[in-house]
């Protein structure tokens, strides 16, 4: 009898917990609702009732944003920059972290700390000298300038994540491989890198988000050019369509689709990656 009452109470408790979380989620999701409903409204609909659900979804907003904002070009640019920057980050970051984690010397610790410093230094301190460096190299308004910047800028995070993971990873396999006569790079490529898969997933997703979303430096380097990335295009968009909120929101919606896609594909790596990072 009492057992049944307890389970009934448990059920009620669980139900109210579920309900409570859903309510919290609703409040939390409110801006997203606004986002979507504005993007789907006609100007008249928007003026009449900003909050209501769009009566007649104006999918044309997306087409108009895509066309007038030249978002296709911008999206292509973002894909090129993000893909190459992330590939370079994974390549250079994992191998550097490997050396740093496997050498227990004062020097390697010093270099590691030097990298970590980069997590703290505000970007603005070196913004102008770096801009001038890019100008002198004639790289402004090119993908190259952005890719170099993003790689250098994100490396501290990447080194930090890889090094933490590697420290917790026993060195036995790779040493066995090297006893078998494999060179360092061979050992790294064939033994270590595959073992890094979970943290590589985390690195890919975090750096993709960061590079994709970056705004200030892309604005300076490629703003107004044919190489401008999506956030820059959206920013210009906002200026140009001053008050056509439905078009602005539709454009913003287009800009976030790819990043959401990457997230859904690699979702499981996020928590797993952090978990392994915490252990390390």
């Amino acid at each position: 009898m009492s057992a049944r009452r307890r389970s009934a109470a448990q059920l009620a408790g669980r139900f109210s917990a579920e309900l409570g979380m859903l309510l919290a989620a609703l409040v939390f999701a409110f801006p997203f609702y606004v986002f979507l409903s504005v993007a789907l409204k006609t100007p008249a609909d928007l003026a009449a009732s900003p909050l209501s659900f769009p009566t007649d979804p104006a999918l044309g907003n997306f087409a108009e944003a895509w066309q007038r904002g030249d978002l296709g070009q911008a999206m292509g640019n973002s894909v090129v920059v993000t893909a190459l920057a992330v590939a370079l980050l994974v390549g250079t970051g994992s191998i550097a972290a490997y050396a740093l984690a496997r050498r227990a010397s004062r020097l390697s610790y010093g270099v590691y700390l030097l990298f970590l410093l980069g997590l703290m230094i505000p970007l603005q301190l070196g913004m102008v000298p770096l801009y001038q460096l890019m100008r002198d190299a004639d790289l402004l308004q090119t993908y190259t300038s952005l890719i170099i910047f993003e790689v250098g800028h994100q490396l501290p995070l990447v080194v930090f994540l890889y090094a933490g993971f590697l420290r917790a990873l026993p060195a036995d396999y790779e040493e066995a491989a090297r006893v078998d006569g494999a060179g360092t790079l061979r050992a790294f490529g064939s033994i270590v890198f595959p073992l890094l898969r979970p943290i590589t997933g985390t690195v890919v997703i975090l750096t993709s988000i960061n590079v994709w979303n970056d705004f200030l430096t892309p604005l300076l380097y490629v703003g107004g050019s044919a190489q401008q990335t999506l956030p820059v295009a959206i920013f210009a968009f906002r200026g140009e369509f001053a008050s056509q909120w439905q078009i602005i929101f539709a454009g913003m919606g287009i800009a976030i689709v790819p990043i959401l896609l990457v997230y859904f594909l690699l979702q499981k790596y996020i928590i797993r990656g952090f978990a392994s990072g915490l252990k390390g």
Partner: protein, 440 residues
């Protein structure tokens, strides 16, 4: 990432894959990885000397120039490559571009010394080409010329001139039985009546401060500049200052008077410009002070379009015949280090033709930049034309301030002032402090 993980020759495979990706991406993206120089110099042209002219202008100019660019390209066979940004954005980018030598041939510069990329500031630093020998120089009006000139050289071309006007919703005025005010006390009475009729008399979208400055310039045109044209020289010489000049104090006191009486929008510091304009279009508010270039946007919000509104000059005192209008030239200049200076000048000469001056002004609802005989088809600015014709105009007050920070402080500290955090002398003292820092 994962599909090669069992492969023992991963190192080389990775390299090969990366190389393949790079090649693919390069192919896809054309020449976005290096600057090939094809698009930025005079070498890409199709027709003799003209080639490609690069231009970096603000959003409004870009809209007005678009048809003219097309006509110019057809006539000369050369190309004008226009990039645009909002004025704020442009000012910031242009500064870096000029510092770094990456600026376009034709650039939008602010008048006087009002920003780090103003004609005066850049002209003194020899960053702008001398245009004094151009044919259109003879058609510069006196007040425009003083803002376009540095050390005797004309360095900027006025694409148009803007005026600060009060736009009102005709129907709202009619319903409340309000006449167009011509003096300050008439304005107060009108506000009183509108307020009683349940409308916000004056829409004040002061988020970001852009619309706040219009009030200062419009009132100062009548209260400060009409009374004392020498004020800028006196301030520069240190003979007077914002805080010690009675006329400047009066200018700010007028704004405070309207604010204290509750004639401004509720929550004005949080209202963005588009909503401020919209509220006049819907009739929630009766009027809004804005630059004439903003009129097309305002018209766009009302079903009746242009017909729903009219404009008047903001009165500032009791003498209707002394009301001045604040006007501002909108400049283009030629970068001293332009890749194609001849092309840039040729384009300016093209813009200076009377029919093109007229076309631009008509398209944008602004005043013609040059004193040519232009017949405007739009009568949107008709009510202020008499003042314009009789020379009752003054430049925006900030144009001859020594740097852009005086204005920046006026806008930011001005918001604190409107909110009651600081009083008028404190605001004026802060502006004086920035003024004293001189030209940057």
């Amino acid at each position: 990432m994962s599909k090669h993980s069992e492969n023992p020759t991963r190192g080389t495979r990775t390299a090969r894959t990366a190389a393949a990706t790079l090649v693919l991406a390069t192919t896809l993206a054309g020449c976005g990885f290096v600057n090939t120089g094809g698009g930025d110099g005079s070498d890409g042209g199709t027709n003799g000397t003209s080639g490609t002219v690069t231009a970096y202008v603000n959003t409004e100019q870009s809209a007005g120039l678009a048809p003219l660019v097309e006509a110019f390209e057809q006539e000369t066979g050369s190309t004008v490559d226009v990039s645009s940004a909002t004025t704020d954005e442009l000012n910031q980018q242009l500064r870096v571009q000029l510092t770094s030598g990456t600026a376009a041939d034709l650039i939008r510069v602010s008048p006087g010394s009002s920003s780090p990329v103003a004609a005066g500031v850049l002209g003194r630093a020899d960053e702008l080409a001398d245009l004094s020998d151009a044919g259109w120089v003879a058609e510069l009006s006196e007040d425009t010329r003083s803002l376009a000139e540095v050390e005797g050289e004309v360095v900027a071309f006025p694409v148009s001139r803007n005026a600060i006007v009060m736009a009102y919703n005709r129907e709202v005025f009619e319903r409340a039985g309000v006449e167009v005010p011509t003096t300050w006390s008439e304005l107060l009475t009108a506000c009183e009546q509108l307020s009683a009729a349940g409308v916000t008399p004056i829409s004040t979208p002061f988020q970001g401060g852009i619309y706040l400055q219009f009030w200062v310039y419009a009132l100062a045109a009548t209260l400060v500049y009409a009374e004392n044209p020498e004020i800028d020289a006196q301030m520069a010489a240190g003979e007077t200052s914002f805080v010690s000049d009675a006329r400047w104090n009066e200018t700010f006191a007028r704004i405070a008077q309207l604010n204290d009486a509750g004639y401004f929008s509720d929550g004005m510091l949080g209202i963005p410009p588009d909503q401020g304009l919209q509220s006049v279009a819907t009739g929630e508010s009766a009027m809004v002070l804005l630059v004439s270039a903003g009129l097309p946007q305002l018209y766009g919000y009302a079903e009746g379009g242009e017909e729903a509104f009219d404009v008047f000059a903001l009165p500032a005192n009791e003498d209707a015949s002394s009301t001045h209008v604040a006007i501002a030239p909108d400049f283009l200049a030629v970068n001293a280090e332009a890749e194609n200076p001849e092309g840039a000048r040729a384009f300016l000469d093209f813009l200076a033709r009377p029919e093109n001056v007229e076309a631009y002004a008509d398209e944008m609802g602004v005043l013609p930049g040059l004193a040519v005989d232009a017949e405007l088809s739009s009568d949107a600015l008709e009510p202020i034309m008499p003042m314009f014709d009789s020379g009752r105009t003054a430049g925006y007050a900030n144009y001859l301030w020594p740097n852009g920070d005086v204005q920046q402080t006026m806008l930011q500290s001005g918001q604190e002032w409107l909110d009651g955090t600081i009083d008028t002398p404190a605001l004026l003292e802060q502006m004086d402090a920035e003024y004293a820092r001189g030209t940057s």
